[in-house]
């Protein structure tokens, strides 16, 4: 199989095409959509946070788990970041960023511990921590809001700044993607995540450290959600207790849209990220395409259904192909079996 045809066959390719078509059509209708300086910047900037959450969700879903608490982790770290700037004015920005991300890691560790040590389904645990983390966030923030004026200028400009026309946030998201994609695709521990998602009972028999890996999956997810939280504070420069509400399902939707199977073991974080880009681009493009803003969610829903139907068709085709190539066991000429 040639490189090109492998590329064309990749599930991710379809998403890229969809994004491309969408941007092209929208830009024809309203040129500023992708060509104006702001248009281009927003094209990349708007999806950045969701891209990071999609990577987080992708890691966890590949291990056949799910992390519904990402949005609450994002909210809590975003608020904590803002609070640190207000309450500890002496702290250098990088330290605050690290502490914010670290808080995400900590919350991820809570999820990971409950899921892997308690051996309890992650849907249940992270649904619980979604409530709990969000509750803590609201209890802490109350009606308070950290405003743009209270955050250091250098920090908030980071949220919207561009380097050579590319927003910093987008660069961060792509860097996260590159690192995680490398780890998942090319290292032993990454491949073990796929194995665990594919069949966790087999992974135990195999001697893989399932609990530890799952724990680290959640740790990574928490860390990335924490990073997204810090960046949220930078981008919106204003944080209240409801930051990121509802993004957990968007992150799941992005992963699914990008071909990460909810049943674990397949898909890539690249796909999840592309899913995130497609999802945000759609909701930005719809008004321009003349679809009322209120209908966006409906279109989104229909689209996800389309994506999972497509996955099903692809999977069925592949299964047929595997079956017809089944003659594998055709007994090879009896070679000298042992050398």
């Amino acid at each position: 199989m040639s490189g090109v045809s492998t590329l064309l066959r990749r599930r991710e390719f379809g998403v890229v095409v969809a994004i491309g078509v969408l941007i092209a059509v929208t830009t024809v209708i309203s040129p500023s959509f992708a060509t104006g300086t702001d248009g281009f910047r927003n094209l990349l900037l708007t999806p950045s946070l969701l891209m990071i959450l999609a990577v987080a969700q992708g890691i966890v879903i590949i291990t056949k788990n799910i992390d519904l608490s990402v949005s609450a982790v994002l909210g809590l770290t975003a608020y904590a970041t803002g609070r640190m700037f207000v309450d500890l004015p002496g702290l250098p920005i990088p330290v605050v960023i690290l502490l914010g991300v670290g808080l995400g890691t900590l919350l991820g560790a809570v999820n990971g511990t409950l899921v892997s040590l308690g051996r309890v389904p992650s849907l249940v645990i992270t649904l619980g921590t979604l409530y709990a983390f969000r509750g803590i966030d609201i209890a802490w923030a109350g009606g308070d809001r950290v405003n743009a004026g209270e955050l250091p200028r250098e920090f908030t400009t980071m949220g919207t700044q561009t380097v050579l026309g590319v927003p910093v946030l987008f660069v961060v998201a792509v860097a996260v993607l590159a690192v995680v994609a490398y780890v998942l695709g090319q290292t032993r521990s990454g491949r073990e995540l796929y194995a665990i998602g594919s069949d966790d009972a087999a992974a135990v028999l195999y001697g893989l450290r399932v609990r530890r890996r799952v724990f680290f999956g959640f740790l990574a997810s928490g860390t990335l959600a924490g990073l997204a939280g810090v960046l949220f504070a930078a981008r919106y420069a204003s944080v209240s207790s409801n930051a990121g509400t509802g993004m957990e399902l968007e992150a799941v939707a992005a992963a699914v849209l990008g071909g990460v199977a909810i049943v674990g073991g397949t898909g890539t974080v690249l796909g999840a990220v592309l899913g995130a880009v497609l999802l945000t681009t759609i909701s930005r493009a719809l008004p321009t395409l003349g679809i009322g803003e209120f209908w966006q969610q409906a279109v989104l829903g229909a689209l996800i259904i389309g994506a999972i139907l497509l996955d099903r068709v692809i999977a069925a085709r592949q299964a047929r192909r595997l079956r017809s190539s089944h003659a594998s066991i055709a007994v090879a000429p009896a070679k000298e079996a042992v050398t």
């Binding site: 799910i66 519904l68 409950l114 308690g118 051996r119 309890v120 389904p121 849907l123 249940v124 645990i125 649904l127 619980g128 921590t129 979604l130 409530y131 709990a132 983390f133 969000r134 509750g135 803590i136 966030d137 609201i138 209890a139 207790s241 509802g246 399902l249 799941v252 939707a253 699914v256 199977a261 909810i262 049943v263 009322g292 209120f294 209908w295 966006q296 969610q297 409906a298 279109v299 989104l300 829903g301 229909a302 996800i304 259904i305 999972i308 139907l309 099903r312």
Partner: protein, 352 residues
């Protein structure tokens, strides 16, 4: 070594009824029911105004949508699927009632159409999950967006209000006259609970639901029509969600696209607290009713104690986590304790 532990070479009998009762009384359901009572007592003792007829009345009204949707949701989860689109269907049904009512339709006709929409939406979920065979988590996340999107699309963020009093009274009237605790609308739930309880625990369809949840493959090999079972469960869930949407509309006199947004997680939480396994194949209706009541009760107690909404959320989350972790710990400790006891016995006997 005790002989009772030996594998017995004799024909097995059904477990005696007494033993079955014992395991039922020591079971998960009983624990949740006990907890409901415990919170009740604690609330009555420590919280002013708790335990009055009005508290019960409002508690039941508030818990009703969860109680309603939890019934079919229990069966869906036992069949090893999940439906996250229930709250969106609730919102959609509410909007349908509102839009048609606003358009001059008689309310009963609007309600009928809303319930039909529930059936259709449920059938869409059911078709995609059962017939096409897509994972329900993904499908219902999609229809969550779809139903909610249609609801919001139809009505924007406007609201339709001003439903006629005689219809609103249907949901708010008290069964035994003014000042008493039980809302008449609870009868709808009682009927539904009995219906789903019997369906799940005493009918071939219920057996098929458990079987489908434990192993779809074995079920198919045993002549269980797994897709049909799941399809109808999703249809039922859509229908009951729409019913809850009608209730919501009349109770709050407000048809809005964002009614009950995020509510699906509360329903799932209630079902899981009620002892249903997210992996399917395990769980029962009484436990789920207790689970939903427990959450509703806890919220009422905390609210009356002037604890803010955030703490209530934390409590719900912790309750959910505790409800799955504690049984694990208990079985784990129980096993360890038994092993310890056994090896203790052995060492004494061997020292003899």
């Amino acid at each position: 070594m005790t002989t009772t532990l030996d594998p017995v070479r004799q024909t097995p009998k059904p477990r005696p009824a007494a033993q079955r009762w014992r395991s039922l009384l020591l079971g998960r359901d009983a624990a949740v029911i006990g907890l409901v009572a415990l919170v009740w007592i604690a609330g009555s003792v420590f919280v002013d105004n708790f335990g009055k007829p009005n508290t019960v009345y409002f508690l039941l009204l508030d818990a009703l949508p969860i109680l309603l949707i939890a019934m079919p949701m229990t069966m869906v989860i036992i069949s090893a699927e999940i439906d996250l689109s229930v709250a969106s269907m609730l919102g959609l049904s509410s909007v349908v009632v509102g839009v048609l009512f606003q358009g001059g339709w008689p309310i009963w006709a609007a309600v009928a159409v809303a319930l039909a929409v529930g059936l259709v939406g449920g059938a869409l979920n059911g078709f995609l999950v059962a017939t096409v065979g897509l994972p329900s988590l993904a499908v219902t996340v999609a229809t969550l967006a779809l139903f909610r999107g249609i609801a919001v699309g139809l009505l924007g963020t406007k609201a339709v209000t001003g439903f006629p009093d005689e219809h609103k009274d249907l949901v708010s009237d008290r069964l035994f006259g003014p000042g008493t605790a039980i809302p008449g609308i609870l009868l709808v739930f009682v009927v539904l609970a009995i219906g789903f309880g019997v369906l799940l625990h005493f009918t071939p369809f219920g057996r098929a639901t458990y079987a489908a949840g434990m192993s779809a493959r074995t079920s198919r090999f045993s002549g269980v029509n797994v897709p049909a079972v799941k399809f109808w469960l999703f249809v039922a869930t859509g229908f009951v969600s729409a019913l809850a949407g009608v209730y919501w509309t009349l109770r709050y006199d407000s048809a809005r696209g964002d009614n009950a947004a995020g509510f699906e997680l509360a329903v799932v939480a209630a079902v899981l607290v009620g002892g249903v396994s997210i992996f399917g194949g395990r769980g029962a209706i009484p436990g789920v009713i207790a689970g939903a009541l427990l959450i509703g009760e806890l919220r009422a107690v905390l609210r009356l104690a002037d604890v803010s909404a955030d703490a209530i959320n934390i409590a719900t989350g912790v309750l959910l986590i505790v409800s799955v972790i504690v049984p694990r710990l208990v079985t784990g400790l129980h096993g360890r304790w038994r092993r310890a006891r056994r090896s203790g016995l052995e060492s004494t006997s061997s020292s003899d």
